[in-house]
């Protein structure tokens, strides 16, 4: 079970709780987490990743275990603490716009 924390606007849009728990098969990668998240909340498609390219939107960041994973490969394995549910996978709206 992976814990995912959404930014406020996406929680509202998805009518989701502060923290979402999703089952992800192995290997548990950023891509697998986002695929599972969008499968459960189809309204989030296009809001975190571009519809066509599936690239992270420019002002979205992915944090976990005090690390910025935004520039990691979407197919890289997530940290062990995320896989075991000790730490959440944070989807963050970047500081931008003043």
């Amino acid at each position: 079970m992976i814990r995912v924390v959404l930014p406020c606007h996406l929680r509202t849009l998805a009518r989701a709780d502060d923290e979402v728990r999703i089952e992800v098969g192995r290997p548990a990668t950023q891509r697998a987490v986002l695929d599972a998240l969008e499968a459960r909340y189809p309204v989030l498609r296009g809001t975190i990743r571009d519809h066509a390219t599936l690239r992270r939107r420019p002002f979205i960041r992915f944090f976990a275990c005090s690390e910025d994973l935004s520039h990691e490969s979407p197919d890289a394995r997530l940290p062990e603490a995320v896989l075991t549910g000790v730490e959440p996978f944070l989807i963050v709206g970047a500081m931008a716009g003043g």
């Binding site: 606007h9 849009l13 296009g46 809001t47 519809h51 066509a52 939107r57 979205i60 931008a96």
Partner: protein, 371 residues
């Protein structure tokens, strides 16, 4: 008694203002989609409780919301706007060609006959349509074949901001794009042609009479006379009497012919409204006076409408999609400002009241006249 519903899109959410037909006391809804830019909301002419809203964010992209109960509740529908085929390129600021990239929906225009059919004007400029209530959207790609490689973004982006439908001729559509101009189809979008003859842009284009590239800010027409079009261009207020085949200037005695919105009185096809703005480099009202100008002669002769509007120290702007009319008698006229006020006139513009004063910057105003 009839009622009025005013749909206001702002930089930080949507608001719905309602009144009875007297248009004196207004109720203001709680904000909807708080924190998101709401470029435009509009209701279906055949089902006034069916509303569509374009909800956008620099962080989270495009969402389209739909209401089936007049805005009491909303649900997101489809948000995938994919250009047809290979998107191609358009003119970029540095003279190179730049790929088309979807950014947001500027304007939603529900069909005149079917509540499930809606046209969407996008940035980068393209026209999309849904026929299933917003679930899926498909581009009408022939528009971009009308010299799209020569279109270029204005300072506010390359947006398709105006969509005019014709009840008598369902296959005719006009669209307007900044900065490309006006385009017309007579076959339901299968083919399009530029409709910009007579427009002159000596300060913006190397060829002032170019077939495309003009920065058209808004076009409007009266439903009873769809071949007569009015335009607020970047500079110049223009008129066409032949469905866009040719245009002539009707700026007349306006204090400035720069501005954004233009609209037509609901019952008088030759009565039109504009809001002059000082210049393209200073987006404020001339002399700090917020004045709507009305022409009862289809242009050229204009009168300032000032009663109830601030006549000193006013430096707000009125954006292109932020003016609308109701169809009561007398006709009501409404506009919103970047300072967050929405002004309404229940007497065709003779006098105005602010029906709300302190919203976020207003991006769009639409009005529904309810039975």
């Amino acid at each position: 008694m009839s009622g009025i519903r005013v749909l206001v899109g702002t930089r930080k959410g949507a608001f719905i203002l309602t009144s009875d037909g007297n248009r004196e006391r207004w109720e203001i809804s709680a904000p909807q989609f708080t924190g998101w830019e709401i470029y435009h909301l509009k209701g279906s002419p055949v089902d006034p409780n069916r509303l569509y809203a374009s909800q956008t964010s620099g962080w989270f992209g495009q969402v389209i919301q739909r209401s089936d109960d007049g805005g009491k509740t909303w649900a997101p529908v489809g948000n995938e706007f994919k250009y047809d085929g290979v998107p191609g390129t358009h003119q970029w600021y540095d003279g190179t060609q730049h790929p088309w990239e979807f950014k947001r929906v500027w304007h939603l225009e529900p069909s005149l006959t079917d509540p499930d059919t809606v046209f969407a004007g996008a940035e980068d400029a393209a026209l999309f349509r849904t026929t299933d209530g917003g679930r899926t959207w498909r581009e009408l790609p022939a528009l971009r074949a009308a010299k799209g490689h020569l279109w270029q973004p204005g300072a506010g982006g390359m947006g398709l901001h105006t969509i005019l439908l014709d009840a008598a001729r369902p296959d005719r559509i006009f669209v307007a794009i900044s900065a490309a101009g006006v385009f017309r189809t007579d076959d339901g979008g299968a083919t399009w042609r530029p409709a910009n003859r007579g427009l002159k842009s000596p300060f913006e284009l190397p060829d002032p009479d170019a077939e495309v590239g003009h920065c058209v800010h808004r076009i409007a027409a009266h439903p009873s006379r769809p071949d007569v079009l009015f335009m607020q261009k970047h500079w110049d207020v223009m008129r066409s009497d032949d469905a866009g085949d040719s245009w002539h200037e009707v700026s007349g005695n306006l204090p400035s012919d720069f501005g954004f919105p233009i609209d037509v009185h609901a019952h008088e096809p030759d009565t039109i409204y504009v809001v002059p703005i000082k210049s393209d480099s200073e987006h404020i009202p001339p002399e700090g006076k917020l004045r709507v100008y009305r022409s009862r002669t289809g242009g050229n002769e204009w009168e300032a409408l000032t009663k109830g509007l601030p006549q000193k120290d006013c430096y707000v702007n009125v954006l292109r999609d932020a003016m609308a009319v109701d169809s009561l008698e007398p006709c009501g006229v409404y506009f919103g400002t970047t300072g967050g006020q929405v002004y309404a006139s229940a007497d065709s513009g003779d006098s105005w009241i602010p029906i709300v004063r302190d919203l976020p910057a207003v991006l769009s105003v639409e009005v529904q006249t309810l039975p």
